[in-house]
Amino acid sequence: MRKCKVENIYTLLGEISKNAKLYIPVDQVNGAKFTEYAEGLTLSNALKTERSIKDFFFPQTENLVDFKVSGKIIEIIDNRSEMEDFVIFGARACDVRSMEILDRVFLSEPVDTYYANRRAHGIIISMACNRPAETCFCSTFGIDASKPAGDIVCYKGENEYVFEGVTEKGKNLLEKLNAVTENGGEDTAKIVQTEIKTILDKLPLKDVKADKFGKDKTDKFFNAPEWKTLSEACLGCGTCTFVCPTCQCYDIKDFNTNSGVKRFRCWDSCMYSDFTRMSAGQPRPTQLERFRQRFMHKLVYYPTNNDGIFGCVGCGRCLSRCPISMNIVKVMKKLGEGDNE
């Protein structure tokens, strides 16, 4: 492990930013946001950024390709610029796990080259969660907030930051930082981990269980009467899907530029009335079906298609962002308590 004094963290960040674009969590009007590093910026103390790290790899909108029409010739223009390396500092355990979930979607055949490109160029420095919030329930999905995954894992102790290189990419980057770090820090990391474990035990949602859900449970829950009450107040705003680190549905839109077409990919939401609309209409005609889709996808369909892995990482963003305070924990509890055998 390598470590650096708390007061030297900005020197270290400055060092990273010499070779790659660096993003760190900074407090903004509406909470912490990953912001491109510049001297003078202060690291946020917030537990989580409002938006997850998903945005870096799968942005809300991106121009996939342009078509230029001249006469009978249609030119296809791939206007992607050369991708530079970038580093995200301070991703939390839940967000890091969410990348595994997104990888299974975008990196399986046919590989999404836009996503793959960003994945190849991105390095994630995760940060153990010193102060989990009441809305956190990552342990439900077997995530250890005291020991996140990531290319490099960082622990913030009272006096020092400790870094552990995990992947090849991470180890290489850490080596480049030898001038601003020194060996050691194992003790600090241990102390931080123990402290975090004590707090995790006190979290109000620590007992939320997902065992009733998972692979092949479609028949059990699809027609559950509880969906009606659960979905009745849902506005269909899709905020939950936007802030969710694992929601990955998108739409492709063509815009006529008169001399051709600009093709965009943009996030879509299963909560919207025009989602997957086909010539025969909307397969999920009311908000009940749309609402059910989101939660069934996380708790049943995704695990069914992905070796039992859940599509939620317990980050709690949908708990704190939903305008009507409906969320996956309420859904799990309600469906779990009902007898849907």
Binding site: V29, N30, G31, A46, L47, Q60, T61, R131, P132, A133, E134, I199, K202, L203, P204, L205, T229, E232, A233, L235, G236, C237, G238, T239, F242, V243, D251, K253, F255, F264, R265, C266, W267, D268, Y272, S273, D274, R277, L319, R321, P323, I324, S325, M326, N327, V329, K330, K333
Partner: protein, 329 residues
């Protein structure tokens, strides 16, 4: 903060249910924490007893839900409305959005509702419990011990500038009715008006560029009740999931503000629900302020059937020229 308890409302509801006056109850359902309350329809007395809640986090204006709830309801629905909610209720009736006969309104007093975001800002993350006191709340936290917060520091924006404690619609009232209040709700608008066009543009650019187009502001708005919003209709050409630049959303907000002008009661729900904390109420208040100035004081929802100045031609109406000149000042 709230003077009226959930027990009083539950008793009232249980009584109206058992006497057959109503068949269901629209109110608020308790959540996992003290603050995550969800609007809900109750049909069952046990459910009502266990899960109905009324407290400082019942800011949600439930009047718009009546459109959906009354559609298939065979019996009357009891709805508890705070003073500000009754203005939306009337406005919906003015626009014939639901059948008044299907609703039984119990007006309830309100001491102002709390904004959990403000509480989180002050008490930090890790909120275990929030208890109400006479003039504020006490918050038990994981990391900062127990913190008392004063009412004026945690009120929702709209409650800080509460326009009325008077119920403009009800079948029955719990407690004494209040009065229309003096308030400072146009101060912020005046501050915006005092800016140079460039400053103002920057202000809105900064605010609106955060918009993620979730449309929660529209979805919650009691004045936005079109069956199919033009922004959800792929055929309209303006349905907009892919923003061309970060400020394109301004068009949506300006169009929406025009669309609700004269019908917006200033219930403040848009700003309350915006996950990006955009002060949307300022746009609508600018319209209200202008309408007041150009056509005389007008409060949408004050009475059912009133004609908003924008849809009511009179010979005294201000000429466009004068409006422009007046606006310049």
């Amino acid at each position: 903060m709230q003077k009226i308890t959930r027990e009083i409302l539950i008793d009232k509801a249980a009584f109206l249910l058992s006497t057959g006056v109503v068949g269901s109850v629209f109110g608020w359902r308790a959540g996992e924490f003290d603050y995550d309350v969800t609007p809900a329809l109750f049909t069952d007395k046990t459910d009502l007893k266990n899960n109905f809640v009324f407290g400082d986090f019942c800011g949600a204006n439930v009047s718009k839900y009546l459109i959906k709830a009354t559609k298939n309801a065979e019996e009357k629905i009891l709805v508890f409305l705070k003073p500000c909610d009754t203005y939306s209720f009337n406005q919906l009736l003015t626009e014939h959005r639901f059948n008044r006969e299907k609703v039984y309104v119990v007006g309830i007093p309100c001491e102002g509702m709390a904004d959990v975001r403000k509480i989180k800002e002050k008490a930090g993350e890790g909120i275990l419990k929030i208890s109400s006191t006479e003039d504020g709340v006490i918050v038990d936290t994981l990391y900062n011990g127990t913190i008392s917060l004063k009412k004026e520091d945690i009120l929702l924006e709209r409650c800080k500038n509460c326009k009325s404690k008077k119920h403009v619609a009800y079948d029955e009232l719990i407690g004494e009715d209040g009065t229309v209040l003096e308030n400072d709700r146009f101060d912020e608008v005046a501050a915006l008006e005092a800016m140079s066009p460039e400053e103002r543009f920057n202000f809105w650019q900064n605010e609106l560029s955060r918009c993620i187009r979730c449309n929660a502001c529209r979805d919650v708005c009691p004045a936005c009740t079109c069956e199919k919003c033009v922004f959800d209709n792929p055929e309209s050409g303006v349905e907009n999931k892919a923003a061309y630049n970060s400020f394109e959303e301004k068009m949506f907000h300006i169009i929406r503000a025009f669309h609700v002008a004269g019908r917006c009661t200033d219930c403040g729900e848009c700003s309350r629900v915006c996950p990006q904390h955009i002060p949307l109420h300022l746009l609508n208040r600018k319209f209200i302020k202008d309408i007041n100035q150009f056509y005389g004081e007008y409060q949408a929802g004050e009475e059912v059937g009133s004609r908003a100045p924008l849809v009511n031609y009179t010979k005294e109406d201000i000429e466009p020229n004068d409006a422009v000149n007046k606006g310049d000042k």
